[in-house]
Amino acid sequence: MMEIELLVIGAGPAGLMAALHAAEAGAGVLLIERSDRLGGQLIKQTHKFFGSKAEYAGERGIDIAAKLIDACEKTKTITIWKNTPVLGIYPDGVVTALHQEKFCTIKPAKVIVATGAAEKTMAFPNNDLPGIYGAGAVQTLMNVHGVLPAKRILMVGAGNIGVIVAYQLLQAGVEVAGVVEASPQVGGYHVHAAKLQRHGVPIYTSHSVKAAHGDPFLEGVTICKLDKDWQPIAGSDQYIEVDGLCLAVGLSPLTELLWQAGCDMKYVAELGGYVPVRNGNLQTTEEHIFVAGDVSGVEEASAAMVEGKLAGMYIAALLGYQTANYEPELQLAREQLAALRSGPAGEKIRNGLSKVLCREVG
């Protein structure tokens, strides 16, 4: 059995930052990632991030990923296991994983679960046809592997992911037939939506997908207009010929390990589904288990990185590795999170968090 001070599960933006900051303070870290690449979803984010400089604003996700991965790989006190799915967290604190085709056991003093989130789908006839993708899959195909998902795509969802991925499709040479959004207004950043409109991409607000068509793969989609109660308006059907439909209708946290570990969970729609009850230091109701990033509530990668930093620093201090600047740095991380969640854009997240924070920050 491998003994380690801190086990970080998931090497996306949250996990990489958690591992780096805990190791920087002096903790021994094992970083486990199920895929064959580190970086999580950052490795397909070709757009420049918003926010302040402290959260890598102005940089592209792909470049942030390269920096964080390089830093982790150069840190001797971080052991990295790729291609390693974690299988379970047991009541005695033992964690099991499949590493190099072998079942292995790990005994960590603390665990950070940073497993991220998975794409949601939506209900309409033929929603399982080949050619219907989650937005993340479209990004992976084109931005990581250089493969075009389709010739002509309809995007569903005009939140940040929808408008950003629609623009990335244009950059890759795919025709974007339009963006369908059920609410009366665009939810994503105006700058991205404006880019689409300059390219003549129609944004169908107050519209939804009624059905997909094709056999054996997607050939077209019927959309319809919604009234003020979000109900389909009769006679408003419109057929759009596409060979790709991209769903950017939200993500749900990948919380299986937290459920299994016995953490108290709560359904919070604003955070994407079931999320762990935790305190301001991202500690769950199982005291040795912490969370960071989308698994604790779906937000932007910037927030995931700050949460990772906060949890990493806090755990290092718990383990006896308190750096000289610990208090001010922890305070700064909290202020960064508050800033990222400020204003009207952060209202949904603030509401969600108010339902799931169990104790005051000490």
Partner: protein, 101 residues
């Protein structure tokens, strides 16, 4: 279809390999997910569902949703969205649950 010209990204240094899809030789890039190679070759139907035999393709691309299970080198239920392509692999469309024994 592969991206040849992109304003931000470059896709270079790719080693082409041959693999076999349902008996037909197809060219892909070594190390990319099998699903990416199949997409580049225009193959979108990866399996048929168990109960209603509906065609299924790639959906999540992170090994999470089970939409893309195929038979690879005789082994069923391989998630081809995360399984790296190697030269000479045999990849087959899967029907239903796949035969394990």
């Amino acid at each position: 279809m592969r991206i040849t010209d992109h304003p931000i990204l470059e896709f270079t240094n790719k080693t082409k390999v041959l693999f076999v899809f349902n008996g037909q030789p197809i060219e892909g890039v070594a190390g990319e997910p099998i699903a990416a190679a199949l997409h580049a070759a225009g193959v979108k139907v990866l399996r048929h569902s168990h109960a209603h035999h509906r065609p299924r393709g790639l959906f999540c691309a992170i090994g999470n949703c089970s939409s893309c299970l195929m038979i690879v080198d005789g082994i069923p239920n391989v998630r081809v969205c995360v399984e790296p392509l190697r030269a000479g692999m045999s990849v087959e469309t899967q029907a239903g649950k796949g035969k394990i024994i």
